[in-house]
Symmetry: C2
Subunit: 357 residues, 2 copies
DNA sequence: GTGAAAGCGCTAACAA
DNA sequence: TTGTTAGCGCTTTCAC
């Protein structure tokens, strides 16, 4: 049970070399002879060496510097939450001499992303946390980081081929299925179920489609006959047209539920149903944003699926810091559960603490 | 921004004393003159001292020993999960020289708790994690610990007057409300809603009543007219009577939903509805236990409320260790969100990682 | 009461 | 290519 821990010194003793040599092997800093290398490696295994991480951090008086690149929070409440998560993690890591700087780009302007990412690159961070909104612009930037040996963690949406240290987010297909389920719960017999995208930027069209796929899949797998699934894709710029289309949609007496995939869209639909009566239409959307919370409490929105942007960002920094400080490999994918928020469990979510745990 | 950190040495310099004296003041170990004390205290404030926790733990080569006291997992799957949470935290804290021992008592035998707790006390742990099942026996034990200066963290259920370092669990009243809501969703008009306790031990009667209070409260606050709430309290020993009562309950064509508060009870009701047909009765219960998962997937159970025993135990150890090692005060109450599990989001919960974060 | 000094286990600069 | 050594900031012992 409580056998004495083996230190570097012990390895050195067993291998018949000095601690300096062991250290060089441990961190493959080179400048070690074949022979010594072999002996040390054997000794490491023999004594079952586990580094003392506390001592390691104290010994190497290195300042770590992490850059977080996210959309400007002032333009979108969702990103305000991510920003809060980062702020909170700053406090968590400050004692370990971490500097964490946040850089904002304009969610609607890929050029702003390009210039910000270039700026960040020049600061030579030890690690990067990134929300990859602009696929085409992000990938080359990440490849550049890869070459420079800068590890990066993605969150919110993934770029699988970017081979990031870790991705933090949710499974969008599953998310769509849950959305379908929530629209459907308690309904029997025929009816129309709609999924509505009101898109601010074309970038995340792919994500919305993935959710739609899930939404449709749910109804395929849970046929009750006479169920019809429709989808509506609107540009957020066409304000007049949007309301018109919604009116048309809601006019269908068969309409039983709507899943709205974007926050802008949810806001519009909620306002519409508040004005014109809910007529028994189930309304489901995403995230604990202020307006959504209000509509949920008011009974206009029935369910919210929580993507937990705050925690995503928080954990992103956490994984990165742990990797830099303790060389702990984070999971390649950290997929969050699909949290269902109702009027009754809302408070328990709002009051819950954020754990790095 | 990045101004140099002040060390104990700096305090000593400013106060014109040695580091030894500063250390004595910092930890009020006594043996310091009035005069020195004052000077040091001023210096501490002046240089805005923040201790380096890493160095502190390295310097004091103390082994920490935590005892976790929980019901025997072999008798109850719920506690198997708690046990898993503890196991996982052992791995997390091993590098910091923590020894974490788990002690089991018989869930149905208060004497076993008494003897186990006495045994634990004799091992003189530095901290205790405890699931207080037996109120009457637990309180004096905790008072004993308090006197001995052993900090303790409670989880699962609380004893507010025990003044524990922290409590980890859920708000039971809110939990009952969510249970009511889940039974009710999608229903309109009149109907009967039942809450069912099939109790294994009288100890947690208080908790079940708290959930019932919440359940009733939901329907009071969300009257739709003609709604009737009934509650059923059965002893798990009366096997025959239980099925009889359930049969009676389900025979009511007005019955729309049942919330079952105990795992034993949920198992029985699920089996019953599987045999005799669900008849549109909404079934809601607690926790991701194997059998529950099966019934949820089969469509017999409609919703589960996740109490997350694994995470509760995990965080209990986490809070305790952090307190012991880094003197981080945990929150007095760490209330978990009331997680709603459906067939569609089940997998996302089963696959989610346990973060100490 | 006080201060000096030797650790804790590891890193990294430097001399050999 | 190697070994030695002086830290990192704090705790703790021990002599005064």
């Amino acid at each position: 049970m409580g056998q004495k821990k083996n230190r570097i010194k012990d390895i050195a003793f067993h291998a018949g070399v000095s601690v300096g040599t062991v250290d060089r092997v441990l961190h493959n800093r080179g400048r070690v002879s074949e022979e010594a290398l072999k002996k040390v490696q054997e000794a490491i295994i023999k004594v079952d060496y586990k580094p003392n991480l506390i001592a390691r951090t104290l010994g190497s008086r290195k300042r770590h510097y992490i850059a977080a690149i996210i959309p400007d929070p002032s333009l979108d409440e969702y990103w305000t939450q991510s920003s809060l998560g980062i702020k909170q993690s700053i406090a968590e890591w400050a004692p370990y001499d971490f500097q964490i700087d946040t850089y904002h780009f304009n969610l609607y302007d890929k050029n702003s992303f390009k210039s910000i990412s270039e700026e960040v690159y020049l600061t030579k961070p030890d690690g990067i946390l990134l929300a990859p909104i602009f696929y085409k612009e992000t990938l080359p930037f990440l490849m550049l980081c890869k070459t420079a040996g800068i590890p990066y963690v993605l969150f919110n949406s993934n770029i699988p081929e970017a081979s990031s240290l870790s991705f933090i987010g949710q499974n969008l297909l599953e998310s769509g299925k849950v959305g379908g389920e929530l629209c459907h719960i308690g309904h029997h017999g025929p009816g129309t179920f709609a999924i509505l995208h009101i898109n601010e930027n074309i970038q995340n069209a792919v994500h919305l489609l993935e959710k739609e796929k899930g939404f449709r899949k749910f109804f395929e797998e849970n046929q009750s006959g006479g169920v019809q699934v429709v989808s509506l894709d609107l540009e957020s710029s066409e304000a007049a047209k949007i309301n018109q289309e919604i009116e048309l949609l809601v006019a269908d007496p068969q309409l039983k539920g709507i899943l709205v995939t974007t926050s802008k869209g949810l806001s519009i639909v909620s306002a519409f149903l508040e004005r014109n009566g809910k007529k028994g239409i189930r309304l489901v959307g995403y995230d604990l944003l202020e307006e959504n919370i209000r509509y949920l409490k008011a009974g206009i929105i029935d369910f919210l699926i929580n993507q937990n942007p705050k925690r995503q960002a928080f954990l992103g920094i956490h994984h990165l810091s742990n990797y830099l400080l303790l060389k702990k490999e984070p999971p390649a994918m950290d997929l969050f559960p699909l949290e269902i928020i109702t009027p009754q469990n809302l408070d328990s979510y709002l009051n819950a603490r954020l754990h790095s745990y």
